[in-house]
Symmetry: C2
Subunit: 487 residues, 2 copies
C-alpha cells in the first residue's frame, strides 16, 4: 500500500507539473517516463503475491473491520480492472494519455482538430477495449459510467436527463426572452490578472481553505488534484476580460479541495482517503460554485472585497447587480463559462456524443460536425471553431470517457444535500456573515470525513435521510430562476 | 538505463514541485514518497543483475565505443557509491534530505536555527559516514569534494584559495576606500514584480534560451534543474526593492540552462547527457552572470529594455551608470547578492566551515557563531541573524557538502575559457549588438555538446589548449576592478 501510494503520488505530481510548469518540449520525455512508471505500477498491481494476499483477505472480508474491509474491496477492484489488460496495452495506453494532453493543448490553441484526432481515436478504442476486457458481457459505455459513479448506466442517465431537460427547457426559453433585463456587461471589462489573483486568495479564505495544505496554480483548463489531505492543488485560468470566469473556477475547484482537505484523519495513508466518486466530488464543487457561490448571501459576503480590488470597473454596481449578473442565463458555447441553468445541456451534449463514440456509431472524423449540430439542437447556437467546439474540454485528452455525466448528477446531488443541510444550518445567514464554518462542519460530518469508506448512495442517504431524487434539483432551479427573472 | 532515467526524472520533478508548488503541509508526505522511491532506486542500482552486467562491460571497456565506455564508467561509479551504503541508511538519508529543505525554509523565514540544527547534524553525520564507506582510507571531505569535481581535494583548494585571497584582498581594500565613487542606490527603488518578470523573459531571450525547452519558476533560493535537454527549469526569487538580485539570478541560472540545452543530440537518453561536473556547471553560470553579464557590452545590449520597463525608477541613469552600479564592490552578508570581487570570500568561509564540520572539529551547535566570526575575519562585517548567516543557503539542507568550492573553481574556469574564446570570437562586439549566438556556438563546440563525455580537465584543455590555471581569473579581476575604480 505504501508503494502504491508513493507511485500514485509521484505520477500525480508529474501530471500536475506537466500542466503547470513543464516546458512544452518536455512532452515526449514525460510520456517516456510515464510509460516506464506505468509498467512498474502494472507489475506491482498484478503481482501474484499481491493478488493472492488480497484474494485471501477478500474471502474473509466479513471478519474485517470496516476500514480494512473497504480497502480490500477497493484493492480487489483496482487489481481486477488492471489485470484483465495485457501489460503492453496498458503501458501503451498510459504513454498515449501522457502525450495526449500536450497535443490537445496545442490543437486547441491552434484550432487544429486534425492534430488531436489520432490520439482521441486511440484513446476511445482503448477505452472501449478495456471496458470489454473487464466486463465482456456488458455495454462498454455502461462499464465506463459505472467506473466514475457506482451504479450509473445509460438507462438511468437517459431517464435523469429527460426529466431535467423537460423541466429546464421551458425555463431556458422564458429566460431567453427576458435576457436583456439583466446587465452583465461590467463583468467583461479589463480585470488585471494580479488583482484577480488576490481575489482568488480572498475567496479561498472565505471558503475556509487552509493555504498550508492547498495551493493555487495556473493552467489551461482548471482542475483539482490531491495526493493526501495535506497536499491539495487547485488551479484556475485567468482571463483579463472576464471576471467571473476565474472567480467561479476557484469556487468550483475550492469545493473539490474542501472535500479532500476534510477527509477523516483515520483514513490518512489509506487508499480510501479520497472522495467517494466523481459524482460525489462534482456535487461538492457544483454545490459551492452555484448553490452557495451564486447565492445572494455569498455575493453579499465577498462583494466588498471585489469592489475594493476593482473600484473603477465596478463603479455604481451594487451587490444585487453583481448577483444578478453572475446568474444571467444565456445559451453559450463554453461549458465551464455556462450559467447554472444552461449548464446541464452542455453535459447532455457530451453524454450523447460519448454514447455514440464508445458505442461505435460516431467516428472521430464526424465528431466536430456532430458537436456543432448538437449545440444547435440543444442550445440554438453553433460554434464556429473546434477550439470553441469539441476541443474545449480536457477530459477526453486525459482518457476520461463517462466522466461528464458526473457534473449533472453532482449538481442534482448538491441540491438535495443543500435541502437537507438547511434543516440543521441557517446556511444563508452564516454565508452572508462570511462564516462558512457551520456549513463545512455539517458537510464534513455527513460526507467529507468518510472519503471512500461509504459509497455515494450510502452518503446521500446519510446526509439526506432518503435516496437520491432529482426533484430537489428541479425544484431549486425552478424557484431560483423564477425569482431571478420574475417569470 | 530507461528505468534509471525514469526514476531520476520522477524524483527530479518531485523536488522541483516541492520547491515551487507544494503546499507546506505536504512536506511529510513528500518525504515518505521519496523514501519509498529511494528504496526502489537502491534496489535497482544494487541488483546483482545490473552489477554483473556493468562489471562485465567495465572489464571490456577498452573494446567499447567512446560513449558506451564513458556510460559504463559512470554506471560503475554510481553503483559503487550507492552499494557501499546499507539500504536502511540510504533510505533514511534520502527521507531526511527530502524533509530537510522544508524545515530549512521555515527555519530561515523564522530565523530559528534550532529548528534546522538536528537535520543539519544528521546530514553531516551521514555524509561523513557515506564518504568513509566509499573510501575508508581517504579523508571524508576530500571524498566529497572529488564527488563534485573530479580531482578536487583540500590540498589543491587550500593552494587555490590562498592564491586568490592574496590577489583579491588588496583589491577589496582599495575598492572599499573608494566605495562612495559609485552610486547604486537606484537599484534599490521599488521594482514591481510583474515587470521584473517581463525583464526575466527579455534577458532569457537575449541569452538565446529557447522557451520551448526551458521555463522560469519562482522559489525561495534560485536553482536550475533539468531532466533532459528538452526539459530544463531555471528559477529565481524576486525582491521588489532589489532590481539586480533576480536579474543576475536569471543570468546565472540561464548559464546553467544553456549548458544543458546544448548537450549533443547523440547523448539524448544517456546518463552522460548532463554537465560534466559542478565546477564546469558553475563555470558556465558564473561566466554568464559575471564575465559576460556584468560586462559593459551586455549592459549596453539589455539596458534599453530595462529602461523601457522602469522609466521612472531609472530616470537620468545611463547604461554606464548601470554598469558601474552592478559592479560596485561592497562587502556584504549574502553570497548570492555579492559582487564579483567579494564573492570568493563567501565561498572561502563556507569551505573553511565544511572542512571543520565534516572533519568533526566544529559542531553544528557552534556553527552559527563560527559563521559570524568568519564573516568578520574575511569581510569585516558580522551578520546579526542566522537568516543572514548560516541559514542563508539551501545547499546543506539538500545534503550538499563540498559543493561550494565549485563556485570559485567555476569562476576561475570561466575566466580562462573567456580568454581562449576571445581569440576566436569578438565577444564584446557580438554581445553589445545583442547577438550571443557566436558565443553560444563556440562554447557548444568546445564544452556544452560533450555533456559528461569528457571530464572537466579534458574540457578545459579542449577549450583552452592548456591545463587549468587560476592566473586568468586573477588577471581578469585585477584588470576589471582597476579599470572600474581607476585604482
Amino acid at each position: 500500500m505504501k508503494k502504491k501510494q508513493a507511485y500514485r503520488h509521484a505520477t500525480g505530481v508529474m501530471y500536475y507539473d506537466m500542466e503547470t510548469a513543464m516546458p512544452k518540449g518536455g512532452a515526449e520525455d514525460f510520456a517516456k517516463t510515464m510509460g516506464v512508471l506505468s509498467e512498474e505500477i502494472y507489475k506491482m498491481e498484478t503481482s501474484e503475491e499481491l493478488k493472492a494476499l488480497v484474494a485471501e483477505l477478500y474471502e474473509h472480508k466479513d471478519e474485517l473491520d470496516e476500514i480494512t474491509r473497504r480497502e480490500v474491496e477497493e484493492h480487489q477492484e483496482s487489481i481486477a480492472r488492471i489485470a484483465c489488460i495485457p501489460m503492453e496495452e496498458y503501458v501503451d495506453y498510459e504513454s498515449t494519455v501522457s502525450m495526449a494532453s500536450s497535443v490537445w493543448q496545442k490543437a486547441k490553441q491552434e484550432n487544429d482538430y486534425k492534430l488531436f484526432e489520432p490520439y482521441l481515436k486511440k484513446l476511445i478504442d482503448y477505452n472501449r477495449k478495456f471496458a470489454l476486457y473487464y466486463a465482456p458481457e456488458k455495454d462498454p459505455y455502461d462499464t465506463l459510467l459505472d467506473q466514475y459513479e457506482k451504479g450509473m448506466n445509460r438507462e438511468m442517465l437517459d431517464r435523469f436527463f429527460d426529466e431535467i431537460a423537460k423541466a429546464f427547457r421551458p425555463l431556458v426559453e422564458k429566460t431567453a426572452a427576458k435576457r436583456d433585463e439583466i446587465d452583465d456587461s461590467f463583468l467583461f471589462k479589463n480585470y488585471p490578472i494580479d488583482l484577480q489573483d488576490k481575489l482568488s486568495r480572498e475567496v479561498m479564505q472565505l471558503m475556509g481553505i487552509d493555504g498550508n495544505y492547498c495551493t493555487l496554480g495556473e493552467v489551461e483548463h482548471p482542475f483539482t488534484d490531491n495526493y493526501s489531505k495535506h497536499d491539495v492543488r487547485i488551479t484556475t485560468h485567468y482571463h483579463e476580460d472576464m471576471l467571473a470566469s476565474s472567480f467561479y473556477s476557484v469556487v468550483h475547484e475550492g469545493g473539490h479541495a474542501l472535500y479532500e482537505l476534510n477527509t477523516g484523519d483515520e483514513l490518512i495513508g489509506s487508499p480510501l482517503a479520497s472522495g467517494a466518486s466523481m459524482g460525489m466530488h462534482e456535487s461538492q464543487s457544483r454545490l459551492f460554485e452555484n448553490i452557495i457561490g451564486r447565492s445572494y448571501a455569498f455575493v453579499k459576503a465577498i462583494y466588498p472585497k471585489i469592489l475594493a480590488l476593482f473600484p473603477e470597473q465596478l463603479k455604481g454596481i451594487t451587490d444585487v447587480d453583481f448577483y444578478r449578473a453572475v446568474n444571467k442565463s444565456v445559451p453559450s458555447l463554453i461549458r465551464t463559462e455556462a450559467d447554472e441553468l444552461t449548464y446541464c445541456f452542455h453535459v447532455m451534449i457530451r453524454y450523447e456524443l460519448e454514447k455514440q463514440l464508445i458505442g461505435g456509431t460516431l467516428s472521430t472524423e464526424e465528431l466536430p460536425e456532430k458537436w456543432k449540430e448538437l449545440y444547435e439542437k440543444y442550445l440554438g447556437i453553433r460554434p464556429e471553431t473546434d477550439t470553441e467546439g469539441c476541443l474545449q474540454d480536457s477530459h477526453w485528452a486525459g482518457g476520461s470517457f463517462g466522466y461528464f455525466p458526473s457534473y449533472a448528477i453532482g449538481s442534482a446531488y448538491g441540491a438535495q444535500i443543500m435541502e437537507s443541510m438547511k434543516k440543521d444550518v441557517d446556511v444563508d445567514a452564516c454565508v452572508a456573515k462570511g462564516d462558512l464554518s457551520p456549513v463545512n462542519a455539517w458537510i464534513t460530518e455527513k460526507i467529507w470525513k468518510y472519503g471512500m469508506l461509504k459509497k455515494p448512495a450510502e452518503l446521500i442517504r446519510n446526509a439526506c435521510g432518503a435516496a437520491f431524487d432529482p426533484k430537489y434539483y428541479v425544484d431549486y432551479m425552478t424557484k431560483k430562476y423564477n425569482q431571478l427573472y420574475k417569470l
